[in-house]
Amino acid sequence: MIRLHDIAHSRAGDKGNTSNISVIAYDQEGWEIIQQHLSVEVVSEAFAHITNGPVFRYELPKLQALNFVIEGALGGGVTRSLAQDPHGKALSSLMLSIQLDI
């Protein structure tokens, strides 16, 4: 098992009720791992208790980064959410707590 926090870093952004969370590898080895193993399914499962919304995954090989777009993750939208963290800024660390089974 590898924890994502050990091989990548992350930042979460918000637009309406959608959170986008980047996952950026520290090096080539980390990039190969996240490219192969950090799938839409893995991320959807980690966020399943927050949203059932679709998850989209984009690859940026030149930057050794992935960008995940997670719909419905922000409690109805930043401007109307009841959440303590309506922007979902802290969701980047939920992403990094994912354990990859490799």
């Binding site: 870093h9 930042r11 309406g16 986008n20 980047s22 984009y58 030149k62 009841l82």
Partner: protein, 450 residues
């Protein structure tokens, strides 16, 4: 006189309540040509429209005077031009206040140019058929509660304002990267046909628009991502060449870090499909971007691509969405979580007994589940802070939650401490629609003052 080869643009603020000294540092020590302040969050402009209705001389960013007073002396002395969206719902008043302030500071007659025409409230009201981007429904349902609608204008109108030669450009709603792209288009005489340059300038604006988020802020992770002196964090600037290549750096000696990693994080911040980031100026593609660490705290950015701008403006529709009510209280030590859970149930029972119901009711156990939700197998913490939050159209019903939560001090499980006074806030929510550019292009205006 126009620069023809080279321009340095500073990112003065990333939000309306951002630190002020880093912008002063940029102006005094950064050798910058332009200082840009992005200070307008999604819903802020609708809130300022409400303020303006109550007081026609207000409606600009509340911290305008504080921020301007700090940077004007250096900007006037060094002929640094300022571009900002601090005008919010009232750019004219913001310009009047800025000019008044400059006189009071003994800086003389400082010229401003204001951009207006982003307020499309009446236009949206006249087009109930417009489709809400978030849910596909007609905007009609929001119209009775609509407070204001504003279009995200692009860099072209800011360029017109810069052509007046006014020192300070004050706008309402424009797209954040456009604030930075405009000085490049103006100084280098780029047109919208120069797609690669427009794309490069848009990426540059995107990297600078959140202030220190590209220079070490919202990045550090102890033992993992090391950043020095966050209390003296320097804001970024970009050195832009006329061909569109640019590098990001910060004032030497300031705290923080500009590295490949900080630039990558900010590049992907609030981006969805990286091959299609829509702004009023282009459809940006960053998938081929190259980043090079040129020196300590300096990263070069190459190979941005773009497609032509779309025929639409994005509009945020701000509307009254009722009230949020909140209460909080804490428990600690043995059985803390069980007592907090029971407290939450008691408050819910009381509210039901009093005849209140809510469209949404959220229970957080701070220290356990308030940020990442409540997955299974979570370790029980030593202290738990209960947070109860509701949404309701009724202010009375919103207040009742905090009241009943605070009453747990005397009426709930043992040892409840630190209850807060009930919180109630009106909710100003936003949704988006698209409108054709030609609906408003003729109404967008630039006016020079002084």
């Amino acid at each position: 006189m126009k620069h023809t080869e080279f321009l340095r643009i500073g990112g003065g603020a990333g939000f309306s309540d951002d630190r002020i000294p880093p912008a002063v540092e940029l102006a005094e020590l950064g050798d910058i040509d332009y200082l840009v302040f992005e200070c307008l969050a999604e819903r802020t402009i609708a809130r300022e429209q409400q303020t303006k209705l109550q007081n026609p001389s207000k409606g600009y960013t509340p911290r305008l005077q504080e921020r301007m007073a700090a940077v004007l002396p250096a900007c006037v002395a060094k002929h640094i031009r300022i571009v900002t969206n601090m005008g919010a719902a009232n750019p004219e008043s913001a310009a009047n206040e800025t000019r008044k302030l400059a006189k009071e500071l003994g800086l003389g007659d400082v010229s401003c140019a204001v951009v207006t025409g982003d307020d499309v409230t009446e236009l949206v009201r006249a087009h109930p058929e417009l489709e809400i981007m978030e849910n596909g429904l007609p905007v009609e349902s929001l119209l009775p509660q609509m407070i204001a609608s504003n279009a995200y204008l692009g860099a072209d109108v800011i360029v017109k304002a810069l052509e007046t030669d006014a020192q300070i450009i004050i706008t309402g709603r424009v797209a954040d990267p456009s604030l930075f792209l405009a000085p490049m288009m103006h100084e280098f005489e780029w047109s919208y046909d120069d797609l690669e340059r427009i794309a490069a300038g848009t990426v540059c604006g995107h990297l600078l628009e959140c202030g220190a988020q590209v220079s070490g802020g919202n990045f550090a992770d102890p033992g993992k991502k090391v950043v020095d002196r966050l209390s003296e964090l320097g804001n970024p600037f970009a050195d832009v060449a006329a061909n569109g290549s640019f590098s990001i750096s910060k004032v030497a000696g300031s705290g923080g870090l500009v590295s490949l990693a900080t630039v990558k994080e900010q590049l992907l911040y609030e981006l969805h499909d990286p091959s299609q980031y829509i702004t009023p100026d282009c459809v940006l593609d960053v998938t081929d971007l190259e980043l090079i660490q040129l020196a300590k705290d300096r990263v070069q950015v190459l190979s941005a691509r773009g497609k032509p701008r779309t025929p639409s403006y994005k509009v945020t529709v701000g509307y009254d969405d009722g009230y949020i009510g909140e209460g909080q209280i804490s428990y600690a030590g043995p059985n803390a979580l069980e007592r907090a859970k029971w407290g939450a149930q008691i408050v819910q029972d009381r509210l039901k007994q009093r005849g209140f119901s809510y469209s949404e009711f959220r229970i957080d156990y701070i220290g356990m589940s308030s940020l990442h939700g409540l997955p299974e197998n979570k370790v029980e913490p030593y202290e738990v802070r209960l947070r109860l939050v509701v949404r309701t159209p009724s202010k009375t019903a919103a207040q009742a939650v905090g009241f009943e939560c605070r009453a747990l001090h005397l009426n709930g499980p043992t040892g409840a401490g630190g209850g807060i006074d009930p919180l109630v806030k009106p909710v100003l929510a936003v949704q988006s629609v698209l409108i054709p550019r030609h609906w408003i292009d003729s109404k967008i205006q630039v006016r020079r003052m002084g």
